[in-house]
Each structure stands twice: as structure tokens, then as C-alpha cells.
């Protein structure tokens, strides 16, 4: 199992889990706010729509659906 942080909360997931799956599983449905402030979450699940963008370890605009969870990762929804 892997431990990571999302918005200061600890999430534990099996190895190989994507960040998007980890967040959704932990009940996080809003991954980012749109340019007009509307809540958005993953749509395409395959790296095309860019709706699942989060900040990972300080780097912005990372695709949660294309990134695998790593121990100690810090994820911030935007």
C-alpha cells in the first residue's frame, strides 16, 4: 500500500493506482475549478480532456489520470 496526501488529508491506496482513482476513491469529486470557477473532475480518464489537472509535489497542471501514486506524494486540488 502507498500513502499520499491530498489537500492535507492522508489517502492509502494499492500500488499502481492512478492519482485520479485515488482521489475519487477518497470522495474527492472536484479536482479543479474552471476558468469561471465551476467545479470539475475527471472526464476522459485517458489524458485527453485535461479536466483532472491537479498540483502534485508543487508542480501544477499535472494530469491525475495519467500519474501513478507514489509514496509521500502531495496532491493539491485547484
Amino acid at each position: 500500500m502507498i500513502k499520499l496526501q491530498c489537500d492535507g488529508r492522508e489517502i492509502v491506496v494499492p500500488e499502481g493506482t492512478s492519482v485520479a482513482a485515488a482521489l475519487l476513491g477518497a470522495g474527492v469529486s472536484q479536482f479543479r475549478s474552471s476558468v469561471t470557477g465551476a467545479p470539475r473532475g475527471p472526464l476522459c480518464g485517458m489524458g485527453v480532456c485535461m479536466e483532472c489537472r491537479v498540483t502534485i509535489d508543487g508542480k501544477g497542471h499535472r494530469l491525475a489520470c495519467q500519474t501513478r501514486c507514489e509514496a509521500g506524494m502531495e496532491v493539491t486540488t485547484t
Binding site: S18, L24, R40, G47
Partner: protein, 396 residues
């Protein structure tokens, strides 16, 4: 890094191409590479559980995104600098078609293949109420996967008419056992044909039949859109939205081959057949002369799951069409073409670069896709500036 053959995409078509290409490389020692933006090979259908192994002699770059391709061919990547090759095989697959209806931008609405991909990447749907909707053979497969993972699949809403799906199945009896097996895994799950979602509000999906169903997730995709951006950037000719190829899978640009969904939506068997042919052709091997049935299947599949034009009228004036820049239907409807709308509203100029709203605008307004320019994918400035931008400015 220099290769004789580079394959873009490690789904079924790309993996079949790699397998074929190394048969020649075995004799000649020609280096072959395969690049994929996902962490593992398999494409969307096999997703990390690839049924064809990448031969050990093939260099596999993943997750690696190609953001520019110059003639010759030089591929600019986000993680391995420039990769050069004399032959290029495009096996870039397809994405889902989304159509806007009120509420489609809310969290909780996913693509059908989208939710399946998330489940395959570790999302638990146990006990979740899920509606599967949209169009195509994928819906049943998604429903079956979700149910196997413990979801309560409350129904499958297929927009196509049963009067088209049944003759299609009759014409392809080989597909029938697959369809029956899927249906057997979905016993008790309603399969509504000629039905689609018209609204998602709170947690309630309203269907065109008037039925309202409460769900945790709505998984909705209206078929597939070929990923032709790389081919367009290279100047390959497209016919009716698909990459034109000859009997060797070669595009109108010499040395560039294309296999799988970008040449016509036909699924796994077509992708394997075309990948094999592209890999063999790119390495100068004799080709199988057997006449392919793939073309007829592509046409029949499109006929069976033909989109009902009423789907293009679901968006209300305030419904967003462009999710990156939040551009509503009412802001776009009066424009005559894509370029004008882009310049005035930024529609299609956000992070997805029009991959989601482009096909929507094409279906709703008949706008032709705009030209493709690099970067093909959003890249960091660090990547973009590193030895790339200067050379690029001189060459273009």
C-alpha cells in the same frame, strides 16, 4: 537517438506493428522503438494488460509525450529529447466523443470508456449506482466491467435504434457470441435503445424517455473520435476525418504509415491486422495479399450506431461546449466557422487544444477542424525551451 522505425502508440495496432517490424530487424538489426503517453503498454482497450508483448529488442518509451514532429522525421518528446527515425508508424488510437447536454460538465459525469479507464487504474465502484449511456459496442463492455467490480449498473442507454443494431449483429455472426456473453453478464440490467441522457442535475439523470434515475456516476460516451493530430501535423491527407492510407498502410506522406482507429473506427481485429501490415511494410517485408474485410466492417459499424441528429440539440443556451475556456452554446451559435469563433471566444484554445470541443462543434455546427500546430500536447516551458525553441524558429 536514432531508429529505423518508430511507432507512435502502444495499443493493439502499435504492438502488432512492433511485432511485425522486429521480424525484419532480426535480420537487419534495424533498431525499432515504440512510444506511448501512458505509463504502460496496451492502449485503452488492454490498458496495462497488453496481449502482445513488446519484443525485448524494441526500445519502449513511456510515459512519453510527443509534442512536435518534423519532416525526416524528428520527434520532440517531453522526457527523452529528440527521437529520430526514417520510418514512422502512427498508431495513435481514438478518444471518446462527448456531446453536450445540461449538466454534462459536473463532476460525476465521465466518459464511458473514461470511467472504465479509471476503474482499471484502481478506482473502486463497489456499491456505486452507475448509469452507462451514449453509443456503441463499448457501452455493454463498460457495463459488464463495472458490474464485475461491484457497481450497481442501473441501466444502459444506447442512442442507436434496435432496428439497426440487430441487422448489424446478424451480418457479423462472429460478434454474436461476444454480444451474448456480455448480455449474460448484464442480466437484470435494462438496455434501452433509442434512448439518451438529456439532463444531469444533482445526482439525477433524466433520459429522453422521460425516465429519471438517481446515480453516483454517469458514464457517457457517444462513440469514438480518431486521434489524427500527429498525421495532420505531418501533412497526411485525411478523407472525411480519417487518415487516408494505401494497401500498405502508407499515408500520403512517404515513410509515414498509419494503423488502427485513425484510418477508420473498426476495433481490435482491424487494429491488429493493420498494425501487422504497417510493421511489415515499413521494414520492406512481403505483405499478406488476403483482401481485408475491415473497410466493410467500419462502414457497417458506423451505420448501426449512427448518431441521432436530436443529440445535437440537447445543449441549452447556457450549456458549455468548451470546457477549458467555459464557452457556452449561446456564445458560439452565431459564428460561421471555427477560426472566427476561436478568435472571438477562445473556444478550443484551452488545455485540451480543441480535442473535446472540436468534434462537438463539428457535429453541432458543421465546422471543419482547424489546422494542427505544435505543440501537439501541452508541455512545460522548461521542455519547450530546452534546445527546441531556437531551432524551431529557424526552421519554420
Amino acid at each position: 537517438m536514432k531508429f529505423d522505425v518508430v511507432i507512435l502508440g502502444a495499443g493493439p495496432a502499435g504492438l502488432a506493428a512492433a511485432r511485425a517490424a522486429v521480424r525484419a530487424a532480426h535480420r537487419t538489426g534495424a533498431p525499432v522503438a515504440i512510444i506511448d503517453e501512458n505509463p504502460a503498454a496496451g492502449g485503452q482497450i488492454w490498458r496495462g494488460n497488453a496481449q502482445i508483448e513488446i519484443p525485448p529488442s524494441v526500445r519502449f518509451f513511456a510515459p512519453t509525450r510527443v509534442f512536435d514532429i518534423r519532416p525526416g522525421f524528428s520527434l520532440e518528446t517531453d522526457s527523452h529529447g529528440t527521437i529520430e527515425t526514417s520510418k514512422l508508424i502512427l498508431a495513435t488510437g481514438a478518444r471518446e466523443l462527448f456531446l453536450p447536454f445540461p449538466g454534462w460538465t459536473a463532476p460525476g459525469v465521465f466518459g464511458a470508456g473514461g470511467l472504465q479507464a479509471l476503474v482499471k487504474s484502481g478506482l473502486s465502484v463497489k456499491g456505486k449506482r452507475v448509469m452507462v449511456a451514449g453509443s456503441g459496442p463499448l457501452l455493454m463492455a463498460v457495463g459488464a466491467t463495472l458490474r464485475k467490480e461491484g457497481a450497481r449498473v442501473v441501466g444502459i442507454a444506447e442512442q442507436a435504434q434496435l432496428g439497426r443494431i440487430l441487422p448489424f449483429l446478424k451480418r457479423y455472426p462472429a460478434k454474436l457470441p461476444q454480444a451474448i456473453a456480455l448480455r449474460a453478464r448484464l442480466i437484470g440490467v435494462p438496455y434501452w435503445t433509442g434512448t439518451w441522457p438529456v439532463r444531469f442535475e444533482g445526482d439525477v439523470v433524466t433520459l429522453s424517455s422521460g425516465r429519471k434515475v438517481a446515480v453516483d456516476y454517469l458514464a457517457c460516451g457517444f462513440g469514438l473520435v480518431p486521434n489524427t493530430e500527429a498525421a495532420q501535423l505531418l501533412g497526411c491527407r485525411l478523407d472525411d476525418g480519417f487518415v487516408a492510407v494505401d494497401s500498405k498502410q502508407e499515408t500520403t506522406v512517404a515513410g509515414v504509415y498509419c494503423a488502427g482507429e485513425p484510418t477508420g473506427i473498426g476495433g481490435l481485429d482491424k487494429a491488429l491486422e493493420e498494425g501487422e501490415r504497417a510493421g511489415a511494410a515499413a521494414t520492406g517485408q512481403p505483405l499478406n495479399r488476403r483482401r481485408s474485410q475491415a473497410g466493410a466492417f467500419v462502414r457497417d459499424l458506423a451505420w448501426a450506431f449512427h448518431l441521432d441528429p436530436r443529440l445535437f440539440d440537447l445543449a441549452e443556451s447556457g450549456t458549455l461546449l468548451c470546457r477549458c475556456e467555459d464557452v457556452a452554446h449561446s456564445e458560439l451559435a452565431h459564428f460561421r466557422e471555427w477560426r472566427e469563433a476561436k478568435l472571438q471566444t477562445r473556444c478550443g484554445m484551452g488545455a485540451c487544444q480543441g480535442r473535446i470541443c472540436g468534434p462537438i462543434a463539428n457535429h453541432l455546427f458543421g465546422w471543419k477542424p482547424a489546422s494542427v500546430r505544435p505543440p501537439l500536447m501541452p508541455v512545460t516551458l522548461e521542455t519547450f525551451c530546452r534546445d527546441y525553441s531556437g531551432r524551431n524558429a529557424e526552421e519554420r
